[in-house]
Symmetry: C2
Subunit: 215 residues, 2 copies
């Protein structure tokens, strides 16, 4: 399948490499067609990897991963173009982390809204699925790095899109993916970030994840 990665940071490159490894073709998108990080990634990722603008990548992808920082996501998606998102699954991995006041970050959007909802409102023809945003990118693509049960969360309005994403993530090794409900439930997972960043400090590692234990 042809898949678009929007964003050339760690998260985008890591997911892109995973998708290549399992047989997909991946175009990574950024603000310019000549992004150096994108070019370096393409060189290392092999012949099924390519790079372009956000619009180039979005036009190429049958499924899209939003791996752009939450604060600049809407801008980047406008550059990608609504027509290039229409009818497609858009997997939103972003978090509204605002580092402008230092560490730990605050959230640029929270409580009564979320990045997931903002995307879905502005691009009503995209099938937004919020997931993967509550763990780090190494674990996203290789959940077996952690021993024992641990869980992902998923939010979105379209049941078919969620089923497709679930199937992909299960093929990566995810065992428990909890469907929280419609896209408004992205408020729940985005607001996990404040404890996530503090747990990273308390535990001395970013390689951890949440597991929900029930009676």
């Amino acid at each position: 399948m042809n898949i678009a990665i929007l964003g050339t940071g760690n998260v985008g490159q890591t997911i892109g490499s995973k998708l290549i490894a399992v047989g997909h073709s991946v175009r990574i998108g950024s603000r310019t067609a000549t992004n150096e990080k994108a070019a370096a990634w393409v060189k290392s990722a092999g012949e099924r990897a390519s790079a372009g603008t956000f619009a180039d990548a979005a036009a190429f992808g049958e499924i899209l991963f939003n791996c752009i920082g939450g604060m600049v996501t809407l801008d980047a998606l406008r550059m990608a173009g609504a027509a290039n998102l229409s009818g497609k699954i858009l997997i939103d991995v972003s978090n509204p982390l605002d580092f402008s006041k230092g560490f730990p970050p605050t959230l640029s959007v929270c409580n009564t809204d979320s990045i997931g909802e903002q995307i879905q409102r502005e691009f009503p023809d995209a099938l937004v699925v919020k997931t993967l945003n509550t763990t780090n990118c190494k674990i996203m693509v290789e959940p077996t790095l952690l021993t024992g049960d641990h869980d992902l969360f998923m939010s979105g309005n379209d049941a078919g899109a969620k089923a497709t994403v679930r199937e992909m993530l299960e093929s990566w090794g995810w065992k428990t993916i909890i469907d929280l409900g419609d896209i408004t439930t992205a408020r729940g997972t985005e607001q996990l970030l404040p404890i996530w960043v503090r747990l990273m400090g308390a535990l001395g590692t970013a390689n951890f994840n949440f597991h929900i234990v029930k009676a």
Copy 2:
């Protein structure tokens, strides 16, 4: 030990009964000295239980549990009186849940502040320890209701106070209590509530808790 419970709801009564069961004397406080729920609890809880105003209870307690709803916590603590909190451990179990717009609730305070911090700022001589607020009251007092490992979080400025609270909670059966740091880290646990309420819907039970799985 003499312990105060501020708040006569489910959480206050459940923690109060636990404290009685393990040998403490408990005074439960409310706005009035003649609160019916408090009177009924005292009758069922036995001779080491008593009731009174917030100020009566706070004066009685060597340690205090704040089991009042987050939105009215500061008002209630003002009624308890700063002098009655001074130098004492105040275990803040509250969450800033605002149900005025329906379910799921939003948060009345979040992102750049927390109820834990508000209490500590207004009552600088109290030793505020935020904990227990991320699971339901049945599990708070009987963590072995859930099989498998699951965790509590703790925030506070005073190491000695946190050690005392940790010892008490471990005696209730808590095995892993993660110290997130100073009271500002209460933002992390209070902002867990948005996913907590949605998990309750997705899982069909309130009897669950978080476990942090690390590499």
